[in-house]
């Protein structure tokens, strides 16, 4: 079954080299591209108490896996200076944070506001849904539709999304598995 985590749960995870078994950094923040519908990379902190920001970032392409307990990379050469990384990672445009965005159906009904992204565990940053503050109060989880319009303040989802609001990550994980099997995906 697909295991999912929220973006905020990724913050603070150690970044560990597979061959070296060393913790070379920890996750400072998750850089998400709403247009691409995926995590494009991670900014990093040094390891240790009160350690500061690292100048290097990690591109999703060199992430082997984002897990429940660590982010895995091959080796330290995967860390690249923010200046020399692609613009969407090194200097992400402002106003792209989806947190707080209104989730509107095509029919014009609000499902709530985005609290966080939901990432597929074991992937290198696939985003399968959003955690939302639902219009009725409480927290819900919605799958990311294949195509969605997104602006700086709202995102538009299909009307049917309303039927797929799940109460927890396990429910969304099961829904993701089901929709994938319907599409014949592994």
């Amino acid at each position: 079954m697909s295991v999912l985590v929220t973006g905020s749960a990724i913050r603070g995870l150690p970044v560990v080299t597979i061959a070296g078994g060393e913790d070379v950094a920890e996750v400072r923040d998750v850089i998400y591209s709403p247009e691409a519908g995926r995590v494009v990379g991670l900014t990093l902190n040094k390891r240790g108490f009160l350690a500061g920001r690292r100048r290097e970032v990690l591109s999703a392409e060199t992430i082997r896996a984002i897990g429940r307990d660590a982010v895995m990379i091959d080796d330290e050469s995967s860390l690249i200076l923010a200046e020399s990384s692609p613009a969407d990672l090194g200097t992400p445009p402002s106003g792209r944070d989806v947190t707080g965005d209104e989730v509107l159906t095509e029919g014009g009904a609000s499902l709530g506001q985005v609290r966080d992204i939901v990432v597929l565990v074991g992937s290198n940053g696939a985003v399968v849904g959003y955690e939302i503050d639902t219009a009725t109060g409480g927290i819900g989880y919605i799958p990311v539709p294949s195509q969605l319009a997104v602006s700086g303040s709202a995102l538009v989802v299909p009307d049917t999304t309303r039927q797929f609001i799940e109460d927890d990550l396990a429910g969304l994980g099961a829904a993701v598995d089901e929709s994938r099997s319907k599409l014949g995906l592994p």
Binding site: L13, P14, V16, T17, I18, A19, G20, G21, E22, D23, R64, A65, I66, G67, R68, D69, A70, V71, M72, V121, G122
Partner: protein, 148 residues
């Protein structure tokens, strides 16, 4: 017969030439790429010395025999120093899968005392084959995500 790291820890290391005790086995260091014991650490703290596996003439149930004292080496670089300090010891180390999931703690390592070849990594009562071992460092031991 297989041997285990936990059982071997603390075993007396003896010179075959002088029959003198040179110290106690403190740590075992492995070479992940070769899937094999690389060296032994004898003694603790600043007196810790390393013995390359090739210098071990007999890894027995009651003592570890080495040719003579000249086989004992002081750590020569950062990695060897880390080994001498016990930072690379697998026992008690956190195990992570290559997909970033916690697999618990390494409780033991099974190896062949004749060849030094690693046979399996014990995570509690579960054993992972040596081929699943991907990396080992001071922070964690990396094991291929078990299929289940």
């Amino acid at each position: 017969m297989s041997e285990r790291f936990a059982a071997a820890s603390g075993r007396t290391v003896i010179s075959r030439t002088s029959a003198e005790e040179l110290g106690k086995l403190a740590h075992i260091v492995i070479d992940v790429k070769r899937g094999q014991v690389a060296s032994l650490v004898v003694g603790k703290g600043r007196k810790a010395l390393l013995i390359a596996w090739e210098q071990v003439t007999g890894f027995g149930p009651d003592a570890v025999m080495i040719a003579d004292e000249t086989a004992l080496q002081e750590p020569r670089d950062d990695r060897e120093q880390a080994a001498a300090d016990g930072k690379l010891d697998l026992l008690g180390k956190r195990a992570l899968s290559d997909t970033g999931n916690d697999l618990g703690t390494v409780t033991d390592v099974v190896f062949d005392p004749d060849t030094g070849v690693i046979e399996s990594i014990m995570l509690g009562d579960r054993g992972e084959p040596a081929a699943s071992l991907l990396g080992a460092g001071s922070f964690a031991v990396i094991v291929r995500e078990p299929a289940n």
